[in-house]
């Protein structure tokens, strides 16, 4: 591979350079070219540069798709997302609220969202007069005409699959397995209340020595999105997430 520039230019020295004639000639040529050519600049506030759909502007939320699992809150590097109670046709649900004054537009909330409710939007003009205006609630986060390109899919392979010779691309969202550590659960049913997808059900297994029914949670792997909210509320740390790699 030859050097393209260094082979040509060290041979020239100061004496052989014709003062500034060549730069002037290059500039004049460009001047003629740009006089008849269309401009390369745009009149910014009036016309905007085209950006593709996968442009990472502010995060957007599709309210109806969101399940309120709080993974976006957990994966936000700047902790700008908080889960707030919001009204959904009379029902109170948990939805993310983004403080855009702290948001660094990394797109992690859209990437880690298991149901693709968070999207990246091409909206980058976010100036506001007050800091309060920068806090976008769940309804304000909505983006009309969201397309498929605005979703960020986290797809990939599992190392165990690759070792077996299976080359299959899967979604990396809900592959981990949630389970109960034996002998720790006290049957308080807190995990059932916080589970966003109703993947946990309490089942009764016999009675204890006082005659009360013994309850244990059963996890539905099809519904689980691995949001770890049950792990966070469990008073006895009885729930664990086994990683599937």
């Amino acid at each position: 591979m030859p050097l393209k520039y260094l082979d040509k230019f060290p041979k020239k020295n100061n004496a052989r350079t014709l003062w500034v004639l060549k730069p002037m000639w290059v500039t004049l040529k460009k001047m003629f070219k740009t006089t008849f050519h269309r401009p390369v600049t745009i009149m910014y506030p009036y016309e905007k540069e085209w950006v593709p759909d996968n442009y990472r502007g502010r995060p957007g939320l599709r309210f109806d798709k969101c399940i309120g699992c709080g993974i976006c809150k957990k994966m936000c590097p700047t902790t700008c997302i908080t889960m707030v109670d919001s009204d959904d046709n009379g029902r109170t649900v948990q939805r993310p609220q983004v403080n855009l004054g702290r948001c660094m537009m990394c797109g992690y909330c859209a990437e880690y969202c298991p149901v693709n409710a968070m999207i990246v939007t091409p909206d980058y003009e976010l100036a506001a007069y007050t800091r309060e205006e920068l806090i976008y609630g769940p309804r304000k986060l909505a983006w009309p005409n969201s397309t498929e390109m605005m979703e960020v899919h986290m797809e990939g392979h599992l190392l165990s699959d690759l070792k077996k010779g299976k080359n299959e691309k899967i979604s990396l969202h809900c592959v981990d397995v949630i389970g109960l550590i034996d002998g720790k659960c006290i049957g308080c049913t807190r995990c059932v209340k916080v589970c966003p997808t109703e993947a946990i059900e309490m089942h009764t297994y016999g009675e204890d020595e006082k005659g009360k029914p013994k309850k244990f949670p059963l996890f539905d792997r099809q519904k689980c999105v691995c949001c770890e909210r049950c792990m966070d509320v469990c008073p006895k740390d009885a729930i664990e997430l086994k990683e599937v790699l």
């Binding site: 591979m1 000639w25 290059v26 500039t27 996968n54 442009y55 599992l158 990683e243 790699l245």
Partner: protein
């Protein structure tokens, strides 16, 4: 005449970013210089200790605004080494393409700043115009112009979008022609040459002693490039050259960077050809474990400014125990006393401009 201390920066236009160069001058001749840094200290390394491993990738982008891809690359590389993940070929070449786009736009940013340092605004405008094409490539590939956030632990964020290869080849082919026009502005101008030649000379021995890396080191005859001598991401399978100049002055560092831009175009072209031959079903991302086994690891890549290195101490949890950043500019700026010794004050922008200061990574 008595010596006088002159404080250049942090508002002086020659300091790209917030840093101060205190120079002791005798008339117009510089006798001594002390770089003062720390205006941009954000506690980056300490903040990393409170975040889980994937959350540090977008933070590593913010280390340097124009070399964001290489910084997140070196972070991902060190964590992958700690986790023991081997990348697939497709992910490696995608990282190579993103790295070289980053290097091209970073060098163009340097060329633009170099032009304004010497009072040549035309170079500034032309270089920034060409840079836009590579920023557009960044937008298509990973969604943002500067903070790419493209590599992930165990691969890259997404595969190439449709027509990315065509757009990339167009931009590269066009750029190679246009760069000759910019060279016509600089190398053919006797004013530019007289400002750049024989100022800021540093010998090969001194460069090694100061620990200079990158184009600053290759400009004084040390033939070392991490991409070639400690290959990562299949750089050793691509056919390219490391430009080396022996003079050691500001002009030599300029020449090395210009040639690096041509070589980056060549690397992109070859990596794209390799990507063509790899099937699209090849894995680009594997699932990374949450916890990193305890141990110490380091990884280095060739930054546009030099050799960037990260040293990771992990204690088996999902957060790093310590993440040390070895920034190339932090080391390079320590040679500024040697570089500006005996030159005139007007030459300081030309000399420090060729170091390509970036304060985000220096102060961290």
């Amino acid at each position: 005449m008595a010596d006088m201390w002159v404080t250049m920066g942090p508002q002086h236009p020659f300091s790209h970013g917030l840093w101060t160069l205190k120079v002791r001058v005798d008339g117009e001749v510089v006798k001594d210089a002390i770089p003062v840094i720390g205006y941009l200290h954000r506690g980056w390394e300490k903040e990393c200790e409170n975040r889980t491993y994937p959350l540090i990738i977008p933070m590593a982008d913010r280390l340097c605004y124009s070399a964001s891809m290489t910084w997140s690359h070196v972070y991902c590389k060190v964590v992958e080494e700690a986790m023991g993940i081997e990348l697939s070929d497709r992910a490696k070449y995608l990282r190579v393409v993103a790295d070289e786009i980053c290097r091209l736009q970073s060098h163009l940013m340097w060329l633009a700043a170099m032009g304004t340092d010497l009072g040549n605004l035309t170079v500034f405008l032309w270089a920034l115009r060409e840079r836009e094409f590579f920023l557009d490539l960044n937008v298509k590939l990973c969604g943002q112009r500067l903070t790419t956030n493209y590599p992930r632990l165990g691969g890259v964020r997404n595969d190439m979008p449709y027509f990315f290869e065509r757009d990339c080849m167009r931009a590269v082919n066009r750029f190679e022609k246009v760069l000759w026009e910019i060279i016509g502005l600089t190398d053919e101008s006797s004013i530019f040459l007289s400002r750049m030649r024989d100022v800021g000379v540093i010998s090969r021995k001194d460069a090694a002693n100061y620990g200079l890396t990158g184009p600053t080191m290759r400009g004084c005859g040390v033939d070392f490039d991490v991409r070639r001598d400690d290959p990562y991401c299949n750089y050793d399978l691509l056919d390219w050259e490391v430009p080396v100049c022996k003079e050691g002055d500001a002009y030599a560092r300029y020449k090395v960077r210009i040639e690096e831009m041509f070589q980056s175009c060549e690397i992109i072209r070859q990596a794209m050809a390799k990507l063509d031959s790899i099937p699209k079903t090849d894995p680009i991302r594997v699932k990374a474990p949450r916890n990193v086994p305890a141990g110490t690891h380091f990884a280095r890549v060739e930054d546009p400014r030099g050799e960037s290195l990260m040293y990771l101490v992990s204690d088996g949890t999902d957060r790093p125990y310590r993440l040390k950043v070895r920034s190339p500019i932090f080391v390079n700026v320590s040679a500024s006393k040697h570089l500006v010794q005996g030159v005139r004050i007007a030459d300081i922008p030309a000399i420090m401009g060729t170091i390509d200061m970036c304060l985000g990574e220096t102060d961290r």
